[in-house]
Amino acid sequence: MIQVKNVSKIYETGEVETKALDNVSFNINDGEFVAIMGPSGSGKSTLMHILGALDTPTSGTYILDGKKLENLNDDELADIRNRKIGFIFQAFNLLPRTTALKNVMIPMMYAGVPKKERLKVAQKYLEMVGLSDRMLHTSNQLSGGQQQRVAIARALVLSPSIILADEPTGNIASTQAEEIMAIFQKLNKKGHTILMITHEPDIAEHAKRIIHLRDGKLVEDGNGHKQKIAAVKSKVI
């Protein structure tokens, strides 16, 4: 259960203040599949980083499974990032010159999973994302879509209850985007909560709920939006 209460994030560059998030509040229940949409600069990524415990809000509270994150120390936050949240970056963020297998094993190394088991689990997840023949390729030998799938496998290995994906299909071809959405659907059916940022309406359609941000403010939240997108699309066609 994710509870976000009056969260704001302000960046100060010299004397200019930029409000990346402005008093945003919402709840997400376990097992939801939520898309976050909005134009660039609307604060989507900032929100995602805060939800992923990678950044802290300037004000407001973020409660994850009943725990206020502002009260946790650095190591407790590291544990949450490690076990509770699987984060998929828009830029993949794989370790360079490192094999897909090794990249996927890293979170398990920090979780203290025994070595033999790490290998087994990493292989299982790489197979799941369809990379069984690319396990020993280093990250720079893989295509964008393949790198993204390695990043997904890495986010899943400790089967976190929440998966956060920042434009998971932003840097890859549309055919591969559908494959990745299929993986997300499968994970959501298994009970994982999924939050993803996207600005592509057809990708957002996979979600059951859409949160709309503009200028750091939450402007729309709900299922009804799904129909609106469909209407817009039919007009365009």
């Binding site: 802290t56 590291a78 076990r83 970056f89 010159r97 890293i106 920090y110």
Partner: protein, 407 residues
């Protein structure tokens, strides 16, 4: 994470980017190697000076004619009288002289020497048998000048090894052959042991002949260039100096020591000069060590700062994937320790090797002290570890997203 795993991970990360690891290690190797090599060279020079002084013997007095700076008296310039063989015999035999063990009069001059087609210009030293004892000259083949040679003015010569190779070629055995000094023929009877080519004067480039032959047959002189005196012990040096001074003053019919036409200087005078020389060397040495430590240290600092700062994004990523601060800090610390340890070892071996080769080339004694190695390794290693660790610690304190955004 267990320690074994952290070490394995550190090795894996280091071998991942071989260029970066190589550059960091090169910085440490050069830092440590240059400190060790420079300090070894400084110490070698210091040792060379010490050896030079020791080879002269500590209980040696040298009497020179006319004005020369000395411990006993300051001779007047342009004195008429000079030292003679009779003066030397008097010092040896006088009942007033009790602290003198041996006396070695000497007449030296440079002259042209020929044999067959070869010729050389070298020092001709007219000496008595005592010279070999007082100046510690040994023969490697044949024999030195004898008393009979001196009394009967025989034309025999004992060659220094440098002269042998100049006139006869390397590894030749010239004994029994003849050489011509200023046109006069001399028979070679002995070759001296090499005393080493380094020094203020090359003691291997000299020909010894009997004193009387040099004075009368060769150069036509009655004077001596110097008299070397061996005192009974180091403790009676000053007493011996006084005895000889009074004897020579009375023999030269001089009442005022200020008018003395000779000077006596002891190894004490040389030693005091030498100790100021070694003092300068010690200062020079510390200076060199300090500068090379600073230069090496800055080199190591730069390369570690750059390589670790470059990895800020990696630190952010590892934090994002759940690495605790302590794990990241330990990983970078272990990497820095491995780098400085391996680099330090290689640098040490290279530094010692380089100083050995340089010492051989410029014929200095090879001297390496434990303290220079300890100093180089601890200071450079400390800097390497500190600057490999500090930026990593700083980066691990950032929010993961800030570290990931780092450019």
């Amino acid at each position: 994470m267990e320690y074994q795993e952290i070490v394995e991970e550190a090795f894996a990360t280091l071998s991942l980017n071989k260029l970066r690891t190589g550059l960091a290690m090169l910085g440490i190797i050069i830092g440590i190697g240059s400190v060790i090599a420079l300090m070894a060279l400084g110490q070698g020079s210091q040792k060379a000076v010490a050896n030079q002084i020791q080879s002269l013997g500590a209980n040696l007095l040298t009497i020179s004619p006319a004005s020369q700076r000395g411990g006993f008296v300051q001779g007047g310039a342009g004195s008429a009288s000079t030292l003679t063989y009779a003066d030397a015999l008097a010092i040896e035999n006088s009942s007033e002289i009790v602290n003198v063990e041996r006396v070695s009069p000497e007449f030296s001059r440079r002259a042209q020497v020929t044999t067959g087609g070869k010729n050389t210009n070298t020092q001709i030293a007219g000496v008595t048998p005592n010279y070999s004892v007082v100046r510690k000259v040994e023969v490697s083949a044949g024999n030195f000048i004898t008393d009979r040679d001196v009394s009967s003015q025989t034309k025999v010569a004992v060659l220094g090894p440098q002269v042998v190779s100049d006139l006869f070629g390397d590894n030749a055995t010239p004994i029994g052959q003849s050489i011509r000094i200023q046109g006069q023929s001399f028979r070679v009877v002995g070759v001296t042991v090499s005393k080493g080519g380094s020094g203020f004067q090359n003691q291997d480039d000299v020909i010894y002949i009997p004193l009387t032959t040099a004075q009368k047959s060769l150069f036509g002189s009655t004077s001596l260039s110097s008299i070397s005196v061996e005192a009974k012990s180091e403790d009676v040096m000053v007493a011996a100096q006084d005895e000889i001074g009074y004897l020579l003053l009375s023999r030269h019919k001089l009442s005022d020591p200020a008018q003395a036409d000779f000077s006596i200087f002891s190894q004490n005078d040389i030693l005091s000069t030498a100790s100021s020389v070694t003092g300068t060397f010690t200062t020079l040495l510390s200076g060199i060590a300090a500068i090379s430590l600073i230069v090496g240290g800055i080199g190591i600092m730069n390369i570690m700062l750059v390589t670790v700062t470059e990895r800020t994004r990696e630190i952010g990523l590892r934090k994002a994937l759940g690495a605790k601060k302590a794990v990241i800090i330990t990983q970078f610390l272990v990497e820095a320790i491995i780098l400085t340890l391996v680099g330090g070892l290689v640098g040490m071996v290279l530094g010692i090797g380089a100083s050995y080769i340089i010492a051989k080339i410029i014929s200095l004694p090879f001297a390496i002290s434990l303290i220079s190695i300890v100093l180089a390794v601890t200071v450079s290693g400390g800097i390497g570890i500190a600057f490999g660790f500090y930026p990593a610690k700083k980066a691990s304190n950032l929010q993961p997203i800030e570290a990931l955004r780092y450019e």
